[in-house]
Symmetry: C2
Subunit: 240 residues, 2 copies
């Protein structure tokens, strides 16, 4: 049985302009791999209603689950919640439970729950809240889409709260070997190995540091005995 | 007149599994912004023929130009060139000029131009080669798609060779202000400012460090006088 599939949607002009380097993709990829969910595609789109609606529709229809990052704060450019609602054609408004969370939080901290902050209680109809232990304003899950904040510390905390509710498959076992030879030297034997172990994923990831070429070979599969057998053959082919 | 639009397609299981952190997106985003080309979307897909063909077709049809990263080396999992050819429905084979480049390079370095390395001379019909000063095996441009290597040093060198041939628009001017207050405090006045400067892009990028909230406000536009005027108002609203 194959693992559940996932996609990620990163929303934010700041990443597309080169101002900010996305950190959430790498974190999500590692966490999903750990629990046996296969991340199959990532899209980064700008703060544009049409782009967000199209991407949410396409990805939620093509994969078992979707994780979004960014655009759920209080400012005018935070338009993710409204456009996720539009993608599923459901109404969106300030919801009592989300509002109560914010009210209690801002009462505690002495800040005003103004109109801008209240926008963060806008939740599409039928969604489930995702707990935010850091800044309280919640994320939400609707259908198979999990909507989370872009600030890395908050994204990571929300993801930690969502992951236990998801059913993963068999975590892939992974072994890797660094070979200090160019890919062109090792590609022939490596292709033969891959052909004999079609049940495994054998990837070659070249690097180039200070004038020297090398490759990291990664062997992945659910069956430990097969992964170990392929790695033993690889080590014999290319002794270090 | 609006700027030309671009998309990026990153090809590689190693990024989706969390093994490797992509570096090329951030580099491309910065370079395109510098020359006045608007990066509108990024997709990351796995080493899967169907996924690559679908993404190349969708992105090349929707944007003025597309840049791809990864999957053009000599190993069995390097399938980008073949699938870009498939997306444009053109034949692909070893091409004489690309083969001559590799032959000269490997003769110089004393390595064998074996079958695996020769795969790197497979170029779709009608493409133009992109020079690779580092490891010689070329990238290529076909229609509006520029196909480049995934190793960051080589991606950057290929991009530097492609960029001068592209026509950019007006580089956006950008000014930013760090405000050490939570977004909820500043969102109201900021939205009013954005409404009065609809010709500019005004983004708010929150951060959270060590228990303190703040925002970086970035004002972007092609007209320096307007950008400066909006920034002067912003500084007056939120004196540091």
């Amino acid at each position: 049985m194959s693992n559940p599939t996932a996609a990620m949607l990163v929303i934010g002009d700041e990443i597309l302009s080169g101002r900010t380097r996305d950190a959430n993709m790498h974190h999500l990829a590692g966490e999903l791999t750990r629990v046996g969910i296969d991340l199959k595609e990532v899209r980064v789109v700008s703060d544009d209603p049409g782009a967000i609606v199209a991407a949410v529709s396409a990805l939620s229809g093509s994969f078992d689950m979707v994780f979004t990052s960014g655009g759920i704060g209080p400012t005018h450019d935070d338009i993710t919640a409204d456009n996720v609602a539009a993608a599923f054609d459901v109404p969106i408004d300030v919801r009592a439970d989300a509002r109560a969370l914010l009210q209690a939080h801002y009462k505690r901290t002495g800040l005003e729950l103004n109109a801008a902050r209240l926008r963060m209680a806008r939740i599409p109809e039928g969604a489930t809240l995702i707990d935010n232990p850091i800044s309280i304003a919640p994320g939400f899950s609707i259908e198979n889409v999990h909507v989370m904040a872009g600030v890395p510390a908050i994204f990571e905390a929300m993801l930690a709260n969502v992951l236990p509710s998801l059913t993963g498959g068999a975590p892939l076992l992974s072994k890797s070997l660094q070979i200090n030879r160019g890919e062109g030297d090792i590609a022939g034997p490596l292709a033969e190995l891959a052909a004999r172990y079609k049940d495994l994923s054998i990837g070659s990831y070249p690097f180039y540091h200070g004038g020297a070429y090398g490759s990291n070979i990664v062997i992945r599969g659910a069956d430990a005995a097969r992964v170990n057998a392929a790695m033993a053959e690889l080590e014999k082919m290319f002794p270090t």
